[in-house]
C-alpha cells in the first residue's frame, strides 16, 4: 500500500521530468514542413493533432495571445461542466508531442505579423475563434448593467480582460437575450446554489459577487418560437433539474406542439417534447425561477435616473415561412415591457480581424474561407473552427472541423502546393520576439502555472483557482 501511495504521489514530479518536454526549447529541424497555428483552443489543438498524426515529419507551433492554453475550454466552458474539460488531457498529449511547440503570450497581429508567419512557415492556420459580440444597436444599449453574455462568461471563468467587469446582482430580475447554450449557461450560473458553484473552478471574484446575488428570476427571451431555439437538450434538462428553481414555460407558446413535434427530426423532436412536458407539468419549486419568453425582439433599454437598466421594451413578433425550423420573425405593432435590473445579451459572437492583410467578412464577422478551409485570396493560409465557420455547434463540431482542416493541409503538403524549403520556422520568429522583448510562455512554463493554480484551488476546496492577472501568469511562468 505504501508503495502504491508513493507511486501516486510521485506523479507531478514524474510529469515534470518527462524529457520530451525539453523539446519546447529545441530548434526547428531544417527541411521538415513547418506549420503554425494561431490560437490554442479546441480548433487549434484538434488541427495540430491531425497534422502531427498524418505526417511524421511535420512540426506544429501553436501561438496563443494569452500565457495560458486551451481557449474556450478554459474560458468558455461553464465551471459546472468539468467533464467537458476532459478534452484538455488530449490537448496536453498533443502539446507534449516532440514535434509540437506551444508559444504563449504572443499576440499575432501585434507582436508578430501574419506576413512574418507566412515567411517563416509552410502554412498558417487561423484558429483564433471569436472575440467580439454582435450588438443590437438599439437605444439604451450603453446603460449600466446591460452586459455582453460573452464578457459575463469571461468574468466568471477568469478571463484576464473580463475579470474587472462590473456586475451588479442587486436585483430580483435578470433578462437574458438569446436562446442559445450560452444563454442557458449564464442563466444556470445565476441560479445555481452558491455552495455548488463554490466547488467548481469559478473565479473567486465572481463567486464573491454571486454570493451576494439577489437574483430570483431569470427570463430568457428569444425573437422566434419554441421550434427555433438554438440551445441543446442537455443544457435544457439541466435547467429543469436546478435545485430550488421553478421552470416557467407558458402554455400559449406550446399549444399543439406535442402533435407538431411528431414529424420533426429526432433531436428537435426530443428538445420540443421536453419543453412541452416541462410546460404542462412544471418541474422544480423554490425561491428562484427561470422563464422562457418567445417571439420578442428588443427595441429599447430603459434606464433609471442612475443610468442603470430598469426594463427592456420588446416588439412582439410573428413567424413566417413554411419550414418550421427556419421560420423568420416578423415584427408586429404589439409591444411588451419586462422589468429587470440586469440584461445579458447573448445573440451571437463575431470574430475579429487580427491583421490588416487578412481578408475579413464584416457582415458575418468571420474570416472568409472556402468549403475546404482555405482562406480566400491567401495561399497557404487556412481557417479552423469558429474563426471561419462562425460561432455555432458543440465541441464535436469544432473537432470535426479541426480534423478536416488538418487533412486538407496534409493533402496540400503531399501535393507540393505548400513550400517547404527555406523556411526558418520557430527560430526566426523567436529571434524577432526576443528583439521586441516578448516573454514567450512554453508548455513547460504553463505546467508551472497549472501547478500553482491547482494547489491554490486545493486550499479552498476547488479543482483550480485560476490566475486572472497576466503579470501573475508571466511571473509564475518564469519562476
Amino acid at each position: 500500500m505504501i508503495r502504491v501511495l508513493r507511486l501516486i504521489c510521485a506523479c507531478p514530479c514524474h510529469f515534470g521530468k518527462r524529457s520530451r518536454l525539453l523539446s519546447q526549447q529545441s530548434a526547428a529541424l531544417p527541411g521538415n514542413p513547418k506549420i503554425c497555428v494561431v490560437g490554442s483552443g479546441p480548433a487549434g489543438f484538434y488541427t495540430a493533432q491531425q497534422l502531427l498524426k498524418g505526417n511524421s515529419l511535420v512540426e506544429v507551433d501553436i501561438y496563443e495571445k494569452l500565457p495560458v492554453p486551451f481557449g474556450l475550454v478554459r474560458f468558455g466552458v461553464a465551471p459546472d461542466h468539468p467533464e467537458v474539460k476532459n478534452v484538455i488531457n488530449t490537448f496536453t498529449q498533443t502539446a507534449n508531442n516532440e514535434r509540437c511547440r506551444f508559444l504563449g503570450n504572443v499576440k499575432v497581429g501585434e507582436d508578430i505579423s501574419i506576413q512574418e508567419l507566412k515567411e517563416a512557415y509552410s502554412t498558417v492556420v487561423l484558429a483564433y475563434g471569436v472575440d467580439a459580440d454582435r450588438v443590437l444597436g438599439i437605444p439604451g444599449e450603453d446603460s449600466q448593467n446591460v452586459l455582453s453574455a460573452r464578457r459575463f462568461v469571461g468574468w466568471y471563468n477568469g478571463l484576464p480582460k473580463d475579470s474587472d467587469l462590473e456586475v451588479d446582482l442587486d436585483t430580483d430580475n435578470v433578462v437574458v437575450l438569446g436562446h442559445g447554450n450560452v444563454a442557458l449557461d449564464v442563466a444556470r450560473v445565476l441560479l445555481t446554489p452558491i455552495d455548488s458553484l463554490a466547488k467548481t473552478d469559478i473565479s473567486q471574484h465572481a463567486l464573491e459577487v454571486l454570493s451576494r446575488s439577489k437574483v430570483k428570476r431569470v427570463t430568457l427571451v428569444g425573437r422566434r418560437g419554441p421550434l427555433q431555439v438554438a440551445f441543446t437538450i442537455k443544457e435544457l434538462r439541466e435547467m429543469t433539474k436546478l435545485p430550488g428553481c421553478l421552470s416557467v414555460l407558458h402554455k400559449h407558446n406550446f399549444h399543439g406542439l406535442d402533435t407538431v413535434s411528431q414529424g420533426l427530426p429526432r433531436p428537435r423532436k426530443r428538445l420540443t417534447d421536453l419543453m412541452y412536458k416541462t410546460c404542462m407539468a412544471p418541474t422544480g419549486s423554490g425561491p428562484r425561477q427561470w422563464e422562457l419568453q418567445f417571439l420578442l425582439s428588443p427595441t429599447e433599454f430603459i434606464s433609471d435616473t442612475n443610468n442603470r437598466v430598469s426594463a427592456v421594451k420588446f416588439a412582439q413578433n410573428r413567424l413566417e415561412g413554411s419550414d418550421l425550423e427556419t421560420q423568420r420573425a416578423v415584427r408586429t405593432e404589439e409591444t411588451k415591457e419586462i422589468s429587470c435590473g440586469l440584461v445579458l445579451r447573448s445573440i451571437g459572437y463575431r470574430s475579429i480581424q487580427i491583421d490588416d492583410m487578412l481578408p475579413f467578412d464584416t457582415d458575418r464577422g468571420v474570416v472568409p474561407c472556402d468549403s475546404t478551409s482555405r482562406v480566400v485570396d491567401s495561399p497557404g493560409v487556412y481557417c479552423s473552427g469558429w474563426v471561419g465557420r462562425g460561432p455555432t455547434g458543440v465541441i464535436l463540431t469544432t473537432m470535426s472541423d479541426g480534423f478536416e482542416t488538418g487533412k486538407v493541409i496534409l493533402r496540400d503538403l503531399e501535393e507540393g502546393v505548400l513550400r517547404q524549403d527555406n523556411i526558418g520556422g520557430v527560430d526566426v520568429i523567436r529571434k524577432k520576439l526576443e528583439t521586441k522583448g516578448v516573454q514567450v510562455v512554453t508548455f513547460t512554463d504553463w505546467n508551472k502555472i497549472n501547478k500553482i493554480e491547482m494547489s491554490r484551488g486545493k486550499s479552498v476546496g476547488k479543482p483550480r483557482e485560476k490566475m486572472v492577472n497576466i503579470q501573475d501568469m508571466l511571473k509564475a511562468a518564469s519562476s
Binding site: 442537455k234 429526432r266 465557420r389 463540431t397
Partner: protein, 170 residues
Amino acid sequence: MAMLSQRQVLRFLVPRFATCVSRTTISTIPRNLTRIHSLTHSRKRFCSSVCRDQKETVMVYFIQEDGSKLPGKARVGDNLLDVVVENDLDIDGFGACEGTLACSTCHLIFKKKDYDNLPEAPTDEELDMLDLAYGLTEESRLGCQVIVTKDMEGLEVRVPQGIADAREPS
C-alpha cells in the same frame, strides 16, 4: 485494501480510459493528479470498470467508414469506450470527454438485432448527447454506455465519421 493489487487500486482511482494512464501498461503512474481530483468531483461516475470479471473476454469489431475492421479484445463488464482505449484502436477523436456523457464522440451504430439485444436501454442523458451526433440512427448508442456481455462474441459495430456533415449551413 491489502487484498487489492496495486493495479486494482489505480483502477479505482483512475478510469481505465483516462488518457493520463498509458494505454499499454495500466499500472503506469498517472501523469496528472487532477484526474483523480476531478474524478472525485464529477457529479456521476459513469465508469463501469471497477467490479468486473477480469478473466472473461470476447472479441468485438469496430467497422470504420472506409470499411476497415478494427478488432478489440473486450473484457466482460467493460464498456465499449474502454475497449477502444485498452486496445489502442486508432479512431480519431473517439471518447473526447472520457466517458462522462459530455460529448458524442464515441457514437457507435449497431445492427438492429444487436441493438435490440442490448441489456439496457439508453437513458435520457445518453439520448441527449446522441442527439448531437453525426449520422444519428435508431440503432445508435454511445460506446461509453454499452457494457460488454458474454454473448457479444463477434459483435460488429459501425463507427460513423460523418465529417462531411460537420459544417453547418451558414
